[in-house]
């Protein structure tokens, strides 16, 4: 009546397969079996918590699934008649207690571990030798991210940050915009950019490099195109970039204009203004400063289903000037 080794064999095969898969995953840079390689202390704290939970959860998973497989194999009917009753056991208080207490202990362990890790995740480290934390304002718009540095320098979609120095982000969205969510997976968890609400998060990238991210809250038709990233530079390079950008942006430099065009306008109207989701834009339109400002500031409700958001209602004069400068250089000659 007892099947000999088969269930045990099944179990062993199952466990080995699972371990093999995990080992393979670990070897191949974890392949999505854990958070992508963290590059900031808060992301590390989260990843450690993740692996702690995984260890416990995997144990429970293996226990439940192997019991299930063993019971199904071991107690299947085979040649017994369908109506042969099993033992009429109604329950056991001792067992109920055991499988209440067991999960409570596991969850308690998880809670304690997570709360122990929490300060390292939410509190940005103190100022280092290279000065206090850098504060950057992050504003989510349909469908671009705008960054403003303490000296007023503006960047679109691509943030520059110094390596090794804590960067504190004040994340929000304009009052007339929608919810977005700021997320650079390797630099920590996400935080929503909600109109009328200022949220704070931080990171400290250890190594220079480019860290990709995306908007993580449905914000409309181009949610998928709201890509972003942090380019982490050595402190000296960062300082240089910041001062260069500062002087350039005070002289209506087309470099910022180009960022604005590519990050804000081109997602809907195409890089060459050839149209796409939004209509084709003629060179005459693009060089008509007044008309352009009206549309950028107020958006436009088009007949049918498209609405152009008021993408630049909060832009500075310098931003507009640099956009004009870029557009005139790029499209002016054709007109």
């Amino acid at each position: 009546m007892t099947p000999p080794v088969r269930p045990r064999l099944l179990l062993i095969i199952g466990v080995l397969a699972a371990l093999l898969a995990l080992a393979g995953a670990a070897a191949a840079g974890n392949g999505g079996f854990g958070p992508t390689s963290p590059a900031s202390p808060n992301a590390e704290g989260i990843a450690t918590s993740f692996w702690f939970v995984t260890a416990l959860v995997l144990g429970v998973f293996l226990l439940v699934e192997s019991l299930l497989v063993v019971f199904v194999v071991r107690f299947r009917r085979r040649k017994r008649p369908r109506d042969a009753d099993g033992p009429q056991i109604h329950g056991s208080n001792r067992l109920e207690l055991a499988w209440t207490a067991g999960p409570v202990l596991i969850l308690f362990a998880i809670a304690v571990f997570v709360f122990a890790k929490l300060p390292g995740i939410i509190d940005s480290p103190d100022a280092t030798a290279s000065g206090g934390p850098l504060r950057i304002e992050v504003v989510g718009h349909q469908f671009y991210w705008q960054f403003r540095y303490p000296n007023g320098v503006i960047a679109i979609d691509r943030m520059r940050a110094p390596a090794g120095r804590p960067v504190v982000l004040d994340v929000t969205a304009p009052d007339w915009d929608v919810n977005h969510s700021w997320w650079i997976p390797r630099l920590g968890g996400k935080i929503d950019a909600i109109p009328g609400r200022m949220n704070t998060t931080w990171f400290r990238a250890n190594e220079p490099g480019f860290y990709e991210g995306r908007c993580a809250e449905l914000c409309g038709a181009f949610h998928a195109k709201m890509l972003t990233g942090v380019e982490v530079l050595p402190q000296a390079d960062f300082d240089e970039w910041l001062t260069t950008a500062f002087s350039a942006q005070h002289q209506a430099d087309p470099a910022l204009g180009r960022e604005l065009w590519e990050g804000v306008c081109a997602k809907c109207h195409g890089l060459a203004a050839e149209g796409g989701y939004g209509p084709t834009l003629a060179a005459a339109t693009l060089t008509n400063r007044d008309a352009l400002e009206t549309v950028i500031r107020n958006g436009r409700a088009l007949p049918g289903r498209n609405v152009m958001p008021s993408v630049g209602r909060d832009w500075t004069a310098a931003q507009l000037q640099s956009l004009y400068a870029y557009l005139e250089a790029e499209f002016g000659s054709q007109g």
């Binding site: 999505g32 958070p35 992508t36 992301a43 704290g45 989260i46 990843a47 993740f50 939970v53 429970v60 998973f61 439940v64 699934e65 019991l67 299930l68 019971f71 199904v72 107690f75 299947r76 009917r77 109506d83 099993g86 033992p87 009429q88 056991i89 109604h90 329950g91 056991s92 067992l95 109920e96 499988w99 067991g102 999960p103 969850l107 998880i110 809670a111 997570v114 709360f115 995740i121 007339w176 929608v178 919810n179 969510s181 997976p185 968890g189 929503d192 909600i194 109109p195 609400r197 704070t200 908007c215 993580a216 809250e217 449905l218 409309g220 949610h223 998928a224 195109k225 289903r305 609405v307």
Partner: protein
């Protein structure tokens, strides 16, 4: 049971094949109407799901645009939650609750018909909203403002209307269930002798009653703000509204909604496992009371959907701890079910396979929920495909597997004929394999950084590989659903079932298959939670004498 005699015969015009279904107030027919209508929406929402998977199969596809993808995602989610899972459970509840408690019908048969027809009306509005000016709603099934307020066209308004109709329908249905269960149990059926499915429907109905008004209120405010933008400012911050307020209102409803969808499914599992193991449910009281406990806790955990909103971390900690507490009664159920299998005489028929599949899949969904409850980890995986995988493990592998198993189990009772066992096992195999192939890789996608609700991506490598695998799995499931439909079509000539083909435990198996309009001629006095198994034993003892 003081029900006497037959009601007067129906007038001639109500006796036609179609007319008799249109005017019916019989709980069994209403139940079947619910199941059939929700089945149609399941097919619609399933096709939308396949569209999503086609669009995401490879990078930079353009089967759908950003707008149409958002419509498809929104309508898929809304349909599955509101027009498939909840009404199917309402249908099963309608069919089964009076039979299982030995009653002749629901307490308010006409209110019952009213519930169904409101649901049907809501469904029609919902389905037609694809043709609204500007297309269907496209702000996600959660419809967060400000996006849902600013979204142009009428699709969102019709979406709101359809849900308003549905909430009224569900409220009426919930009241009906509660009154029926409290007042119409047959002689001897105390609370602790009630079938576990009825326990689940009781809690389901209370949850609907307590949390649906929050949804109705939130949607009403949304509608007012959409239609009278200068006058009402609830959620858009330009004039002092708060987008976060809506999220609180929505999730105060939305989280219990998850349990509204899973508790009756668990009730189905608690019915199937003992019958096919030839044992009583292990820990009946523990299962019944854990259902109540889950119901209560489900109403105080809502903000675990809002960990990234930037609430105070003290609040986050509270919502983390209470969310974890729910895992305890849930785990209790799983262990009790396992213990029910232990030393049983397992008949591996289709309903049992679906119950076993439920156990193995729901466990994964429950465990991945722990990551989401731990809020710092949630900051990483929130709004990614990890969450998509998690809730499909709970709602598809959980609720829908239990529902399909339940359909195979109760089909003989509903129609007097079996669904084909061979096609049933094939359905199970295709759905089980297809499901895991579709949704397991989505955990990895989420951890790799893929947010939910994006209509396209450019990454190759693992993103592309996992997405392709997921799409292949979804088509396997599609084939599984086709096989299931074939089984349903064939059941018209399927094997005939007697009153009690599975040797069940509960009263619905005491009457004929299908049951007569008045359900029972007599109902035996109930002395335990398994009246039919008691009956069989006493018959056996008597014949042995």
């Amino acid at each position: 049971m003081a029900v006497r005699a037959e009601s007067p015969p129906a007038p001639q015009w109500q006796r036609g094949k179609v007319a008799s279904w249109l005017v019916t107030v019989d709980h069994k027919r209403i139940g079947i109407l619910y199941l059939a209508t929700a089945g149609l929406f399941f097919l619609l929402a399933g096709v939308l799901a396949l569209l999503i998977r086609i669009q995401l199969a490879r990078p930079d596809q353009s089967v759908l645009t950003g707008d149409s993808y958002n419509e498809v995602v929104t309508m898929h989610g809304t349909a599955m939650v509101f027009f498939v899972v909840v009404p199917i459970l309402a249908g099963l509840g309608n069919f089964l609750v009076p039979l299982q408690i030995g009653a002749r019908d629901m307490a308010f048969p006409r209110l019952n018909a009213f519930s169904y027809w409101l649901f049907a009306a809501g469904g029609i509005v919902f389905a037609l909203s694809f043709f609204a000016q500007g297309g269907a709603a496209r702000t996600g099934w959660t419809a967060y403002p400000p996006l849902s307020v600013l979204s142009p066209g009428n699709g969102q308004d019709l979406w709101i209307l359809s849900l308003h109709l549905l909430t009224v329908s569900s409220l009426a249905g919930a009241i009906n269930f509660i009154v029926t269960i409290h007042n119409m149990r047959t002689a001897g059926m105390s609370w602790m002798r009630m079938p576990l499915f009825v326990w689940a429907i009781e809690v389901y109905a209370w949850l609907l009653l307590l949390v649906l008004p929050a949804l109705s209120a939130g949607l009403t405010l949304l509608l007012l703000e959409r239609r009278f933008p200068g006058t009402f400012h609830f959620f858009v911050p330009e004039d002092g509204g708060s987008p976060v307020l809506y999220q609180h209102v929505f999730w105060f409803f939305g989280h219990p909604e998850v349990y509204i969808m899973i508790l009756p499914a668990m009730g189905i599992i608690s019915e199937i496992l003992p019958v096919f193991s030839r044992k009583p449910a292990f820990g009946y009281k523990a299962i019944a009371l854990s259902t109540v406990a889950i119901g209560c806790f489900s109403m105080i955990v809502w903000a675990h959907h809002m960990f990234t909103v930037g609430l105070s971390n003290y609040l986050n900690a509270w919502f983390m701890v209470v969310s974890m507490v729910i895992a305890v009664p849930t785990g209790m159920k799983i262990f009790n079910w396992l213990a029910t299998l232990w030393r049983g005489n397992l008949s591996l028929d289709t309903p049992m396979w679906f119950a076993i599949g439920f156990l193995s899949i729901f466990t994964v969904g429950g465990l991945s929920g722990i990551y989401l409850a731990a809020f710092p980890i949630d900051w990483q995986v929130h709004d990614t495909y990890f969450v998509v995988a998690h809730f499909h493990y709970v709602l598809f592998g959980g609720s829908l597997f239990a529902i399909i198993g339940g359909l195979f189990y109760w089909w003989p009772k509903m129609f007097g004929r079996f669904l084909s066992e061979r096609l049933g096992k094939l359905t199970f195999a295709l759905l089980f394999v297809g499901f895991n192939v579709t949704f397991f890789p989505q955990h990895m996608l989420g951890l790799l950084g893929m947010p939910r609700r994006i209509y396209t991506y450019s990454e190759g490598g693992l993103w592309q590989a996992y997405n392709m695998v997921s799409t292949v799995g979804s088509f396997l499931m599609g084939v599984g659903v086709l096989v299931f439909m074939l089984a349903i079509a064939r059941s018209r000539t399927g094997r005939r079932a007697g009153n009690d083909p599975w040797l069940g435990d509960t009263l619905e198996w005491y009457t004929t298959s299908p049951p007569p309009p008045h359900n029972f001629d007599t109902v035996p006095y109930v002395t335990s939670a398994r009246p039919l198994s008691d009956l069989r034993r006493s018959l056996k003892e008597r014949s042995a004498l």
